[in-house]
Amino acid sequence: MMDISDLIKSISLFKPETTLIVTFMLAMILDMAFKKSKNIAGYIAIAGLVIAGIFLFQQTGVNYKAFANLLVIDSFGQFMKFIVLMSSLIIIVFSFFSNELHNAHTKLGEYYTLIIGMTFGMFLLVGSANLIMIYVAIETMSISSYVLAGYTREVKRASEASLKYVIFGAVSSGIMIYGISILFGLTGSLNLFEINQFLSVNNVATLPLLLSGLMILSGFGYKISAVPFHFWTPDVYEGAPVTITAYLSVASKAAGFAVLLRFFKTGLLDSVPGTSEAWQLLGNIDWHYVIAVLAVLTMTLGNLVAVWQTNMKRLLAYSSIAHAGYLLMAVSVMNDNGVSAVLIYFVFYMLMNLGAFFVVQLIANKLDSENIDEYNGLGYRSPVLAVCMTVFLISLAGLPPTSGFIGKLYVFSSVINSGYIWLAIIGVLNSVVSLYYYAKIIRNMYLRDVESAKTKLVFSPVTIAIVLMLAIPSLLFGVYFTPIVEWANYSMNIFVGN
């Protein structure tokens, strides 16, 4: 039985989420009230996200188990919530300039409302420490994202993407909730803290624990598009509007990784102090190797298939699968270095991936195509855009002066420090493969079909400014990355109670 003082304190720490709910309703009502204004819900959404960000900032340094251990408010969650919040903000700004969305609908009220709903689901997911809460949060974000993926209703491939997303989502969350039920049967609790206590005292049969863990992993793996659960990714990323594709590839993944890390650290970690070097896992199962195998499969398949793609959205979809592989590599070492590497990587990944998708969206606005060949001669048709795209792609490939290099550096060093040299070697080889297809786009932009350079592509100064606002930090953080690293090191402690 939770007492009322806990409830009141929990509600006071629930302000960011409450703000999002209020924003959700305001956007919905005012969008109906102001029939003339097309983007009113978008402006309200931006205001709501900014206010939620301020409340989130006020929670710095708070460690609290809210609502009778349902949600955890800690600095790790705060960091991930900031990533989600920033990408929601950037995506809403992108949506103002999306031709495909504005052509498909006269009003976009529901679109912005659903983005806020999805942000709310991800906020819950990042903080949840109860298996049912995790499930409810995943469904909250998924249902919004199913609708958003098919938002351009008249486009056939968008409807197809949405349907595929629903079916795969239903199957994987079904598998996940079955795994949850097995874990509940084994330990007698849905709360991660209590599961942890039970596992540290009692001996549990290995096979059911492994099975339930794998089943729960399939739900998380679906969200982060890790390899055996990735089949929806290319089709959904290709069919959905570019803004939603970008959103799924960053925010959805951030929430998935947050819950994955929290599940392992809170649920399956021995809470004996002094084990920060390598987390001591409970229950005779070497989860390092399970995750490491997933990581190798994910990045290898993502990179090898990306080489053959001719559609930019599909290419970036496979590249985002590969990036999930690199991040899983950092998860697999299961120590605090790994967590901070994941956090650092996500900041940079957000900048460069959203940037690359925005360029794709701008090109699609002008040329109505996402084919790689359309990028021929872009270096001369729109020099600023091409330079920015080059920065994003080099950053995605992980070459030095860009921030992507720093992200990869921290991931690989966390892997090598834990002694998984073989894993690091596979990761580096994968980076080499990825360089090929990123460089192919850069080659198309500067070295191919220079004749078409006569027709210039003109973009409005505002859109160019937005691209620059993403490209300049991508470069800057490659040189001056200390603040991000310090912030990540401060935030890497996942609150495990006591």
Partner: protein, 137 residues
């Protein structure tokens, strides 16, 4: 010794066996004189038209989904009514917020016109249609 789950499994098996025995026994005891009329869908003489797999109008689902929300609201109101005395004003305000959130959704659905049941307008033939030389619209 049978564990608690073992008893459930036993019930599960017994259930199948019970139904199986009843069906097999009936098969041996009952008279069997099938013919075409007896095997038709409606034995009473009604001749079936068309396929049984008809498409239901999507509006049914919209209404059902909206109904579900308010159904769940009532389900939440019941346990709330039990603890209401102990929690007092706090619980009252909390429930008001919950109901207001649902009402906003209701207003939205209403305003968007999702509750309007657009009746199909079948064209009923008039006598004038039969007049030669006059075309249907």
């Amino acid at each position: 010794m049978i564990s608690e789950f073992g008893i459930i499994l036993l019930y599960f098996i017994l259930g199948f066996v019970f139904v199986g025995i009843a069906l097999v026994a009936a098969y041996f005891i009952r008279p069997s004189h099938p013919n075409a009329i007896k095997n038709s869908t409606y034995e009473c003489g009604e001749i079936p038209i068309g396929e049984p797999w008809v498409r239901f109008n999507v509006r049914f689902y919209v209404i059902a989904l909206i109904f579900l929300l308010f159904d769940v609201e009532v389900v939440f109101l019941l346990p709330w009514a039990i603890v209401f005395k102990g929690l007092g004003w706090f619980a009252f305000i909390e429930m008001i917020i919950f109901v207001v959130i649902l009402l906003v959704g209701f207003a939205y659905v209403w305003g968007k016109g999702d509750l309007d049941w657009e009746r199909p307008k079948p064209y009923i033939a008039k006598l004038s249609d039969l007049v030669i030389g006059k075309k249907k619209q």
